[in-house]
């Protein structure tokens, strides 16, 4: 049996259903975003961890020039080491049938007759290579798909200038290459970079490492400090040319995954609260309106002997229903969008069993957040309801007390007609009510603006990186530092118009107790093809007398211009130097350290060496250039910048782009919800005045003017405010998304702002016109005979 009070609740709710839906929809957007982002974060985090666990992902890795096989046992005996895999690894080129441009590949050895102890493979198709045959190989899944390679296919490999025929016998995934990125590249290009696993013997011969290894992957016992183990490993491998062990934070695939998880977490923690805040606002408006119209009923209930808490509970239940409705809608929506997102992520990240599933804790948190939002929105109105003394509630309400406005406004108002004066005085009399609408609309606009900044920022990164920073056509990298005489060989390749050398090396940077492993890039004097840009996009010439650091790296090392950083090379002579920080820049991509190239060569005690070259080529001779370039004996990878740009655009549009789209859709929905809700409340508040105007003989249009003019005036205040908040919110959000690899710039774009303003203004106008139909249907007699 439903109590009379609850029956009243149900009736009132069905009367307010449109309003309830608008508030619930805004709440649902926030909840959906939260469920999607938190759920996706959790799903990806656990899928990654499960994959890393089951496939024994390495905790530490190091390259070494050449260490005898026996050293593997010494490493395995180190305290804290759970498993070791000593391998042959190296880079080379692949020649694919029907493709003139060479493809880079990372070759990795597989132990004979057993599974790798670290970085196990998941065989997707075919079989493992037969250790007795030296021409059988596995390739990674993304590469196989992108190039339509299946078991049975034959390709050619170029290792140290030697060409050999390889048969693909299977397709595999590895936790090491969830994201397969070519050396020197920043993003995966599955068409142009592959991983090739072959037998240990075959690769040992190809890379001239018979009876030795050049790559070590380690798993550690749980709870062991990787830094302690890496120091021990480095000491062991020093005499064999160890390059310094590094953890997952420097493994590019792991780093990418961690970055994506970070941005999902940012999305989950930063945005839903903003949506919830707006929902709180709307709920507050709806419920205060309800309590105002319920004055007499509240008085009546109190006179019947209902307690204050019973009345408080009754009105709190409205908020409860809104909140639960919003939460349920949001959970269903979030779960669905999360499923779609997981499909997209599965394509980008090669993680087995990556399914969207938000656990009960996520749903519980969503429900609690919705309820808290509901309660926060209702608190004020509920308090007002309980505080109303029964006698006051039963007496007819005094007309709202208005006064004259300031002389200036009154002067202006005296020139207005009566209806406009009504609007002006109402806004001035109830600044908080007006502010609620203004803030709601402004927040919706700000969110819409902010939501579009992420894709805009990405577009800017791509445009600046490939338009202003990297102006070369081709990047060619070498496996080892080469004598700079190679520049002459390269310049003689067909179609080459300009050659610019670069020297980069992995170093440890130390300042105080901070220690970072990073690349130190030696930039040629007057570099034109690959320039270091500051945040104002001015070219910065790295200096010879010190380090130019990216802002991210400077933050990690906690150094400012003038501070001294200790630099130790990880290869060659393992030179060390104390260098001052001479400049800090904010590049959009990749946090690195820079120096003038010749100075770097001197510091490393290896002058006149290069590790890569940037080229301008005549595009008409692209094929001839490719054909000849792949015959160079020392080439490691060849990357055409236009390809890289396309891959990067596609990658960013796929993953984060989808999330951004969802965000834009939700922001738009919210703007519409706020618009409708505000218009509805304004109509409800004005009902009596509008009916009076109609009875006095004003037509529908004339009466509607009062509603439209008020919404219009509030809109005019809200739009500039929303743009202002949008700027602040966008700047802040972009800074939250920054990672080691990306620095998201805030970009002012008038089209974006104009489009958002038009959308929000349009939503408010359409909602107001929709609500305005209520003026036509006003029950004149009913409204005027009621006591308000």
């Amino acid at each position: 049996m439903i109590s009379a009070l609850n029956r009243k609740l149900l009736r009132d709710l069905s009367r307010m259903k449109m309003q309830a839906l608008a508030v619930a929809a805004v709440l649902a957007c926030g909840i959906a975003l939260f469920v999607m982002a938190t759920g996706m974060h959790g799903s990806m985090d656990s899928a990654r961890n499960a994959y890393y666990d089951s496939a024994r992902m390495a905790d530490l890795a190091t390259a070494v020039v050449r260490a005898p096989d026996a050293v593997e046992r010494d490493i395995a005996a180190l305290p804290g080491v759970r498993g070791v895999e000593a391998r042959i690894a190296g880079v080379g080129l692949l020649d694919l049938p029907g493709r003139s441009e060479p493809v880079s590949a990372r070759f990795v050895s597989l132990p004979a007759n057993r599974e790798p102890r670290v970085n196990a493979l998941v065989l997707r198709e075919g079989r493992l290579p037969n250790p007795a045959r030296d021409n059988e190989a596995l390739v990674n899944e993304a590469f196989a798909e992108a190039n339509a390679l299946a078991p049975g296919a034959h390709i050619h490999a170029l290792i140290y200038g030697k060409r050999r025929r390889i048969e693909i016998v299977g397709v595999a995934s590895s936790p090491e290459f969830v994201f397969a990125v070519a050396p020197g590249s920043l993003l995966p290009e599955p068409e142009r970079f592959g991983v090739v696993w072959m037998g240990r013997e075959a690769l040992g011969r190809a890379f001239d490492r018979d009876g030795a290894f050049n790559d070590v992957q380690l798993r550690l016992e749980p709870g062991v400090n990787p830094r302690v183990v890496s120091t021990a490993v480095d000491a062991l491998l020093a005499r064999y040319g160890g390059r310094g062990a590094y953890g997952r934070d420097r493994m590019i695939s792991a780093q990418f995954l961690a970055d994506e998880l970070t941005s999902l977490r940012t999305l989950a923690t930063v945005l839903p609260p903003v949506f919830l805040a707006v929902a709180v606002f709307l709920l507050n408006v709806s419920l205060s309106r309800l309590v105002a119209t319920e004055r007499a009923n509240i008085g009546l209930l109190k006179s019947f002997g209902y307690s204050e808490s019973a009345i408080a509970l009754h009105y709190a239940k409205f908020a409860l229903v809104f909140a639960v409705l919003g939460a349920v809608l949001g959970m269903v929506l979030g779960n669905w969008v999360g499923g779609v997102l997981a499909d997209i992520y599965r394509n980008v990240y090669r993680i087995p069993s990556l399914d969207f599933s938000a656990g009960p804790r996520v749903y519980l948190a969503a429900l609690i957040a919705a309820l808290l939002a509901g309660m926060a929105g209702a608190a004020q109105s509920v308090l007002r309801a309980t505080r109303l003394p029964p006698a006051a509630a039963l007496a007819p309400p005094a007309p709202t007390s208005y006064g004259r406005l300031g002389a200036f406004v009154e002067n202006a108002a005296s020139r207005l007609d009566g209806k406009t004066r009504m609007v002006a005085r109402r806004i001035a009399r109830f600044p908080r009510r007006a502010a609620t609408t203004v803030i709601g609309v402004a927040m919706a606009l700000a969110l819409l603006i902010t939501s579009q900044h992420y894709p805009l920022s990405i577009d800017t990164i791509i445009a600046v990186t490939f338009g202003q920073a990297q102006r070369m056509d081709v990047m060619m990298t070498f496996p080892d530092p080469q004598d700079d005489s190679i520049l002459r060989d390269v310049a003689r390749l067909p179609g080459v118009l300009a050659v610019e050398p670069v020297r980069s090396t992995d170093v440890f940077l130390e300042a105080g107790s901070r220690r970072e492993r990073n690349s130190l890039i030696g930039v040629a004097r007057d570099a034109r093809l690959n320039r270091v840009l500051d945040e104002h996009l001015n070219a910065v010439q790295p200096r010879a007398d010190g380090l130019t650091l990216s802002q991210q790296l400077a933050n990690k090392l906690d150094v400012r211009v003038g501070d001294i950083v200790r630099v130790s090379a990880t290869d060659g002579h393992r030179a060390t130097a104390q260098l001052p920080v001479v400049a800090i820049v904010k590049p959009y991509l990749a946090a690195s350290a820079y120096m003038q190239m010749d100075a770097l060569g001197r510091m490393l005690r290896e002058p006149d060496r290069v590790t890569a070259v940037y080229l301008l080529i005549d595009q008409r001779q692209r094929e001839a250039f490719s054909a000849r370039a792949k015959q160079l004996p020392t080439i490691m990878s060849l990357s055409f910048v236009d390809n890289a740009r396309n891959s990067m655009t596609r990658l960013l549009e796929q993953g984060s782009g989808f999330v951004a789209t969802i965000f834009i859709v939700f922001s738009s929905m919210m703007a519409a919800g706020v618009a409708f809700s505000s218009a509805r409340v304004t109509l409800a508040e004005q009902e009596r005045d509008l009916a009076t105007l109609r009875v006095l003989g004003f037509g529908r249009g004339e009466a509607s003017y009062v509603l439209l003019a008020e919404m219009g005036a509030l809109l005019l205040i809200a739009l500039p405010l929303g743009c202002g908040v949008g700027v602040v919110l966008s700047r802040w959000l972009m800074s939250q998304f920054n990672t080691d690899l990306f620095n998201f710039p805030y970009v002012t774009n008038t089209v974006l702002y104009g489009r958002s303003v038009l959308f929000v203004a349009g939503a408010v106008i359409v909602a107001t016109l929709f609500v305005r139909r209520g003026v036509d249907g006003l029950d004149l007699v009913g409204v005027l005979k009621s006591r308000d």
Partner: protein, 239 residues
């Protein structure tokens, strides 16, 4: 008497009004015939739910009969288009309700201005306020006026356009006797000085003595029509 009787303003023939359908049908008016002549002050008397408000709403163009004809001069309010009815309200009808329905954000004078701004031949707002004895309070907002004063502003607003008819639905229902008397005086003044045909709803039999005729309602029909040979002054009333 018939030869020089004033022309009829309203002519109602067989006006019926029903709400709802099927089992829930409510007959608010069961066939009303009534002629109202120019300048008359008619008091509609009857218990709640007897149909008097429904009739007044039909006469004011706020509602339509389910069947029958309700003529204002030559305009059949039962069948006229919405826009025509709005124009009719705008130019010919003044309303006064039990709850004054002033616009709270406008002063007394501005509430009256609202009507004079759109009427064809209004009197100055100040004159309308003077007629109800409120000239000194013209600049006050509704919240600064007593209930009786607010109702008199509503009357001033209703008569400022020099309406053909003034329709008052329990204008004293929410007021005490002394205040009610002043409100009634204002209505009678408008009727006498401006010659505005006035219909006044009340369920207070004492007030009936103000009218030229008293129409008694019960169960949606007219039970009797009495003619007051002598109209009492509002000040003589007490209840």
């Amino acid at each position: 008497m018939q030869g020089n009787a004033p022309e009829p303003v309203f002519r109602l023939r067989g006006v019926r009004k029903q709400y709802g359908e099927g089992d829930a049908v409510v007959l608010a008016l069961r066939g009303v015939d009534l002629t109202v002549r120019a300048g008359e002050l008619i008091v509609l008397l009857g218990p709640s739910g007897s149909g008097k408000s429904t009739l007044l709403n039909i006469l004011g163009g706020l509602d339509r009969p389910s069947s029958g004809d309700a003529f204002f001069r030559d305009l059949n309010l039962a069948t006229a288009a919405d826009g025509v009815v709005t124009e009719y309200r705008r130019h010919h009808v003044g309303f006064v309700f039990q709850f004054y329905n002033l616009i709270a954000s406008l002063t007394a004078q501005e509430n009256v201005d609202l009507v004079t701004e759109v009427a064809d031949d209004p009197m100055p707002s100040s004159e309308a306020l003077a007629l109800v004895g409120l000239s000194p309070r013209a600049d006050h907002f509704p919240a600064q006026l007593s209930g009786g004063e607010q109702q008199r502003v509503a009357i001033a607003r209703a008569i400022a356009k020099r309406p053909t008819v003034l329709l008052c639905d329990e204008p004293t229902g929410a007021l005490d006797v002394a205040t009610g008397v002043r409100v009634l005086e204002a209505i009678v003044t408008a009727n006498e000085r401006l010659g505005t045909t006035t219909l006044l709803i009340t369920h207070n039999a004492d007030i009936a003595q103000l009218g030229d005729r008293v129409v008694r309602f019960a169960d949606g029909a007219i039970r009797s029509v009495e003619v007051n040979l002598v109209r009492r002054q509002a000040a003589e009333l007490h209840w």
